[in-house]
């Protein structure tokens, strides 16, 4: 078995890890680097809670071999959370009761971040389309949609 060194940029910081073949980005984040905001849900690419941004594109870290993203920029929920307080999307989730158990929130917030980066004022349908790959089993999607649109308004008013 050949372990390899993989270098990539995590939340603005260059990191290097030694991995066994086919180690996923999720395993590297959670188990090696202890960045545990990115959740492990179904490990099937089906629930979306492991979503991270790779060069700004939402991807599922549970089915993404870390070697595939060598040299690229990865952003996790830790990367958008300010040292003090909350990111406007996090604040909007709080204000609109879009978090209940919280397990889907990291994935939801990352995909909404990617959406708002492209389109600060998404329609309801555009939000629904963006989060179609993210499963929430407790709040229902309505508060999440409202939070996404409110965060968009907040960010574009800045």
């Amino acid at each position: 078995m050949t372990s390899r060194i993989v270098a990539f940029n995590l939340n603005g910081r260059d990191v290097e890890v030694i991995v066994k073949p086919l180690t996923t980005l999720q395993a590297v984040l959670r188990e090696q680097l202890h960045y545990t905001a990115t959740k492990a849900g179904c490990r099937q690419g089906g629930c979306g809670t492991c979503t991270v941004l790779v060069d700004g594109e939402p991807m599922l870290s549970c089915i993404l071999p870390v070697e595939d993203i060598a040299g690229r920029r990865v952003v996790t929920l830790e990367g958008i959370t300010p040292a003090e307080g909350l990111h406007p999307i996090q604040q909007a989730f709080f204000d609109h009761y879009a978090i209940q158990c919280g397990y889907c929130s990291p994935g939801m917030i990352m995909v909404i971040k990617a959406l708002l980066d492209r389109n600060p004022n998404p329609t309801r349908e555009e939000v629904m389309d963006a989060i179609a790959g993210n499963v929430c089993r407790c709040t229902g999607y309505e508060p999440i949609i409202q939070a996404a649109q409110a965060a968009g308004r907040q960010l574009s008013a800045r």
């Binding site: 086919l22 996923t24 099937q44 690419g45 594109e57 939402p58 993404l64 595939d68 989060i131 790959g133």
Partner: protein, 277 residues
């Protein structure tokens, strides 16, 4: 046993060499949306895996009435192209944003039903595949590529390098029916391409079905019903009835075979009605 080697070839040539050296012991994946869940669950336990994400197969070229998509063109890239609207439409019905960023055209050809909702559109478009190995290359129509459930005409040492899609000359339609509106497995998916003469009679009809057989399939007898006939409610109803008769649906957690067959009648009808409209 854990995976012993993961290869990431930087070119098609390197990929073919690895495939020739390791033969069928090498599990080939592109976006990983099919292979990785099986590996994570321990259902698939390959010793050696080859990922094609960096093999230079992410290309798109148009010329001579044909669009050539490299095998690792992502679903997101297909959603952003204008050359073949049916493919853009199909991608809108597949997965969520993340899966579309990761899943590839080539990978979808190997997705067991009810997955394969891009392949069914490629089938309706009479796509041909370029299969490449160290021995050379050959062109195989997608309709002859499938040989059974999770079985294809791909020979040992071969890779799907490219899908050659003729620019549609007629009208196309795509209808997917699932239990949810988005990110859902299909109960049935129908993709059609129909060319009509000046008098409105059908000159060429292709009706492709997914999730109602061992692989995406053409409803050839239903297509024959339409040849030379006008697209009237009566001919459409007859073609829909024949399509339901000739498909080979299965039962899974999503729907029973009985229900799938009934829905073939409904959704072939709707797909053809949208052509006639």
């Amino acid at each position: 046993m854990a995976v012993q080697e993961y290869y990431l070839p930087k070119s098609l040539e390197q990929a073919l060499t690895l495939l020739a050296d390791h033969g069928d012991t090498l599990l080939v994946m592109a976006g990983g949306t099919i292979a990785m869940p099986l590996i994570n669950d321990g259902i698939s336990m390959p010793e050696k895996v080859m990922g094609l994400r960096h093999a230079g197969l992410n290309t798109m070229q148009t010329g001579d009435g044909v669009v050539r998509f490299g095998a690792t063109t992502t679903l997101t890239q297909l959603a952003q192209q204008d050359a073949v609207p049916l493919l853009r439409e199909a991608v809108g019905h597949i997965g969520g944003w993340q899966i579309r960023n990761m899943g590839t055209l080539g990978g979808n050809l190997f997705a067991p039903p009810p997955a394969g909702d891009l392949a069914v559109a490629l089938l309706a478009l009479d796509t041909r595949l370029k299969l490449v190995s160290r021995r050379g290359e050959r062109i195989v129509p997608l309709s002859e590529f499938y040989t059974g459930f999770m079985a294809t005409a791909l020979a040992s040492g071969e890779l799907v390098a490219e899908a050659q899609v003729p620019l549609p000359r007629g009208k196309t339609s795509y209808v997917k029916y699932g239990r949810k509106h988005a990110n859902t497995p299909a109960i049935v998916t129908v993709a059609t391409h129909v060319t009509t003469a000046a008098d409105g009679t059908v000159r060429e009809a292709r009706i492709a079905l997914n999730a109602v057989g061992p692989h995406p399939l053409r409803a050839r007898r239903a297509e024959q019903c339409l040849m030379g006939a006008p697209l009237t409610p009566a001919t459409i109803a007859e073609a829909a009835r024949v399509a339901a008769d000739e498909c080979d649906p299965f039962t899974d957690a999503i729907a029973t075979d009985w229900y799938r067959r009934r829905m073939v009648t409904v959704f072939v009808k709707r797909a053809l009605e949208s052509i006639a409209a």
